[in-house]
Amino acid sequence: MELAITRDLEVKSGTTSFLGLPLFRQAFFFISYLMSFLLKYMTSRRLAYFLIFFLLFFTNNIQSQVNIMGKPGYMMTPSADWFEEKPLGFTFSYVPNEYSLFETPVDKNTLNFYNVRAGITSFMEVNLSIARRPQIPDKIGVGDRQLDFRFRLLKEKEHWPALVLGWTPPGSISPILAHDYLVATKHFNTSLGNFSASLGYGSPYVLVRSPEGNFLDLQIKKKKDYKGVTYLTGFYGAASYMPVNFGGIMIEHDTQTFNAGIFVKYKEWLYLQAYTFEAKKIAFTTSINFSLDFSPNTLRKYAKDLD
């Protein structure tokens, strides 16, 4: 399925040769880094252990990358993944000026996202993002705040993808970051590693509240006509591949550009992601996601001492 999407993306971009470049470049860097690491630091015995370890975790990798706004996803795009065991997440991301989500001269600048994600139920999640522009706080203040929800419509089944609806409650007088979308994600665990593919559609319309009016004084506007917003308007697609249990590669078309990147995870909860926009600019995202069902320190220590 991810192959189909890739081809679909190629057709859309109209430049088949261009698509392969960032992906292969990223993959090449990733693999060559891995190889040099293996050669440099591993004795043959260690290498054997590594390979066993590698094979052990081959088939049960859980992917939990997030997008720039801390939602399960790839780079710019959200997926339909659901971190059921990790209801709380904090994410920081860096987006270069050229690919900022803001389009007006006043607020377009290097962008930092600070995000919190909290699962309220097994089918509803709330996200808060602050879009800080560290170079111009005197002009825009702390940055735009974005509060939105994700609803899990379908769980992933063997022959059926997971389906998630993302919704931004209307009510903002400046809903530049607002986005509403429907996305499907399917995972494929193969002997070559784990694949995931997502296909989504983001609404090209936005509800804007008039500054003087109350919460219900809303107007439907086309996003493009509203401060030139283009984030997640239309169809988007993304895929990732995890050949090893601690990292992988990903590629997406975020409705505007093609992006490709790598991710590395540490102990299931820390993710580092780096990627390029059209192989021109580098950006990165780092996130921690964890469980809220643990016991207090004292209790854990006591139970541990007993063992």
Partner: protein
């Protein structure tokens, strides 16, 4: 058990059936203290039992009886209440518990200074005087303040006399007198009807408060003229530890309106979403509460130093207008305390 932080431990029982009374102030949830108590009893050379129950206390007041096997709740029997009253030694059986409690007040948005924050560390202690009656005081150590012009000198932390009781089964009251958080002082009263077996609970709260401000030893205060009065109903949904709560009435600053809360309880934290609509305006936001890591820092027979059992923070989208404002006491509000004791919450955790 005492070494593990339990206080006022009393064992009542005959043959192989025991009831253990205790209080444990380090944990936010009674589930964790009961779990620890069970671990300790099972791994000690105490007499074997066939039936074991716990009676956790809060502010030296027994809340209810929970079986150690299934954590099933029941109210105390007459005999248990009498036995507790005879053996309860409120001054002797408690440690001095020093609590480190950070306080964060933040406002985002002004262009000149986007992250306006006030960060204080409160070192405080609650001393139990009689059953349900306690006194809380301490020192506030201001660390950062670019929110307002309150000075960074040490000052007296919110100090109050507090009375908490379960007058009759399922009827809880809380009365506070003194200086509170959020710069309020005065008197505050709460009542709550909460059968800890049931999903519904109801409460009302009222208070007469005024604004006060301490700069080191200097005190500025406004008159005691702000009345708040509100009632609420809370329903615990039969799935996923979710509770819905609707509060209506007059909030602080004579602001009349409604507030709706959706609260999700996890074993390690509580996350809530809310929306309120009042005379002043409309807002939405979220709150969360959790115990601060690591809990116990130092403990001996007479003294305990620990981090706070509950750090709570609320974010509201409309941060300029005080929509449906509330203030905090030295203890969580009754609904927040009793939610943790509900059998429907504790039962599925085991």
């Amino acid at each position: 058990m005492r070494n593990a932080g339990f206080e006022n431990v009393q064992v009542l029982g005959a043959n192989d059936s025991f009831v253990v009374f205790f209080e444990h102030r380090e944990f936010r949830m009674p589930y964790h203290s009961m779990q620890l108590a069970k671990l300790i009893i099972d791994n000690s050379d105490a007499q074997p039992y066939t039936k074991l129950s716990f009676i956790p206390m809060y502010h030296n007041v027994p809340i209810g009886k929970y079986t150690a096997e299934g954590y099933n709740y029941s109210s105390l029997t007459q005999l248990e209440t009498e036995a507790f009253q005879t053996h309860n030694k409120v001054l002797k059986n408690y440690r001095i518990s020093l609590r480190i409690q950070p306080e964060v007040i933040a406002r985002f948005g002004f262009y000149t200074d986007p992250f306006e924050t006030k960060f204080n560390i409160n070192l405080n202690s609650r001393i139990y005087i009689a059953r349900g009656l306690s006194f809380q005081t301490g020192i506030t150590v201001p660390v950062v303040n670019n929110l307002d012009n309150q000075s960074l000198e040490l000052r007296l932390a919110p100090s109050m006399i507090h009375y908490f009781n379960q007058a009759r089964d399922h009827h809880f009251i809380s009365l506070s007198l003194g200086s509170f958080y959020n710069n309020r002082y005065g008197i505050d009263f709460e009542y709550r009807h909460a059968d800890l077996n049931k999903r519904w609970s109801f409460g009302f709260a009222a208070g007469l408060t005024g604004f006060y401000w301490l700069n080191g030893l200097g005190l500025y205060n406004e008159p005691l003229d702000d009345i708040y009065l509100k009632a609420d109903a809370e329903y615990r949904l039969p799935f996923e530890n979710l509770s819905l709560k609707l509060t209506a009435g007059q909030f602080l600053y004579k602001d009349k309106g409604l507030r709706f809360d959706l609260v999700k309880q996890y074993a390690a934290a509580e996350i809530g979403l809310f929306a309120s609509s009042t005379n002043i305006g409309t807002t939405t936001g979220f709150q969360f509460a959790f115990s601060l890591f690591p809990g116990k820092l130092y403990r001996n027979k007479k003294l305990e130093v620990r981090t706070t059992e509950e750090f709570r923070w609320e974010y509201t989208y409309n941060n300029f207008e005080p929509v449906a404002h509330d203030f905090r006491l030295g203890m969580p509000r009754l609904s927040e305390v009793l939610r943790q004791y509900n059998q429907n919450f504790i039962n599925p955790l085991k």
